[in-house]
Symmetry: C2
Subunit: 276 residues, 2 copies
């Protein structure tokens, strides 16, 4: 079965805690030890990302498609880690990573899609959103900043916006990095004691963590409400970092391969031109 | 001698064709064959770029410095190649590559620094300019689009602009990739016959190539006029791609090391916090 079908959320999607631990590509593929299995997954991922890098060159050369990868997930779910792990080796001229933080006062004075729209990919480009317009139907809902009516209105606005992008040649890939509550606890704890990582710790993460169940509900609703064929949601079990990277690179490669990319047509006449 | 001193253009800079072939870091470092020497240079460069990647993490974490790398050079001088080779392995969240092409009508309706200003790095970020505001005192001069008086006015405006950026915490590194006329001829010819690269060929490159000497003069003048301690020009011999990458990574690592970067201070009290 194709990864696109296998990890597609779909209209009947249920967000289940236990699924965060799934490792669907690990079956029959285990090394003698856990360390060995992880190394195998890293090697497989490196293989896939070098193929992705090659296809990205073609995407960049052809300038007919645009790819938007939306990464969402709870704190510590691995959004930054995914970007660092999977997209090195890709020409930075054709790749942009955009992080969305709490909106500025200027951004708040506009509609919620205004700041998003200005960062969508141009032809030939891959853009990764590290958080996105989905925060505007997640944190806003959990914090009670918008009511039910406004939430539904925003789902509809997101559907319209994404359809317009897709109709204009954007391949939209929305990924939810699914970790369990216990995995987040461990990761936050590790962050606190690691001198290279403590700076990433934010007291607000602990505050948000107390609303874990509300966030899971908000994610499930948002995913079901906005999963469409032109802008599908993929739910990636992400308790294992190496397996998460393998899954996402498998998915991305499949999507890029389906585009049947190639370098622009070679002109044999032009090749005869003699440069003086 | 430090790379910063060794490759600094300075006020007495003369752009000499033969220098494009220099390989100052290759002395006493040659393999048994040319292929082996190149592989050694690639390995050394990989070593340096992984150190750069580590320092970039700190730059990103600290958010006290901003780094702007300006890449200029004739067509085929290796601006894209430098970006692809040196900056993979660096977290795309803290790195942006910006290419400047012929200005749009909106951009032309503003001053020439307007579109440049909107892309300068924020704190914690490395931004690479693939071409830059220097095109506005190069192509414009060679094509006779601006006169001598306007050219001098722009030099002064560039000096003011860059001083303001430097005073606001931006480390500015301007690199001229120096190739010879014959090297360009060979590279354009190779581009034409390579099915993966022919798309990069632009008829206009041949037109511009006819004005080679005028461009060299314009570069020499611009470099001398705008080389300052806060925004120095480095002239990198670039006929050899592997050696060019070794030179630029050596230079960049030295500059980053001089910033004495570190991760934000570890707080042992915070490390005791127990995540529930």
């Amino acid at each position: 079965m194709k990864a696109r079908e296998r990890f597609r959320a779909g209209k009947n999607f249920k967000l289940l805690e236990d699924d965060a631990d799934d490792k669907p590509l690990r079956d029959g593929n285990t090394g003698d030890s856990k360390g060995e299995t992880k190394q195998q997954e890293r090697d497989q991922t490196a293989q896939l990302t070098s193929q992705i890098a090659r296809l990205q060159e073609m995407l960049y050369a052809q300038r007919t498609h645009k790819l938007l990868l939306v990464l969402q997930g709870m704190d510590t779910s691995g959004k930054d880690g995914t970007i660092t792990s999977l997209f090195h080796g890709i020409n930075p001229m054709g790749l942009r990573a955009v992080g969305f933080k709490a909106p500025t006062s200027t951004e708040l004075a506009h509609d919620f899609l205004w700041r998003i729209h200005s960062h969508v990919p141009v032809a030939g480009e891959i853009v990764i959103f590290n958080r996105s317009h989905y925060e505007d139907v997640l944190i806003t809902v959990v914090q009670g900043m918008i009511d039910e009516k406004e939430c539904k209105r925003r789902y509809a606005q997101i559907l319209d916006f994404e359809r317009m992008l897709a109709e204009s040649g954007t391949i939209i890939v929305k990924v939810f990095l699914h970790i369990s509550n216990d995995e987040q606890r461990q990761r936050l704890q590790e962050r606190l004691i690691d001198p290279d990582k403590q700076w990433k710790f934010d007291q607000n993460d602990v505050v948000q963590r107390k609303k874990w169940d509300e966030y899971q509900q908000a994610y499930q609703r948002a995913i079901v409400a906005t999963d469409t064929d032109h802008a599908p949601w993929y739910v990636i079990p992400a308790n294992s970092k190496t397996h998460r990277n393998l899954l996402i690179s498998t998915l991305l490669l499949e999507i890029l391969e389906d585009l049947k990319l190639s370098f622009p047509k070679f002109d044999p006449e032009l090749a005869k031109l003699k440069i003086e």
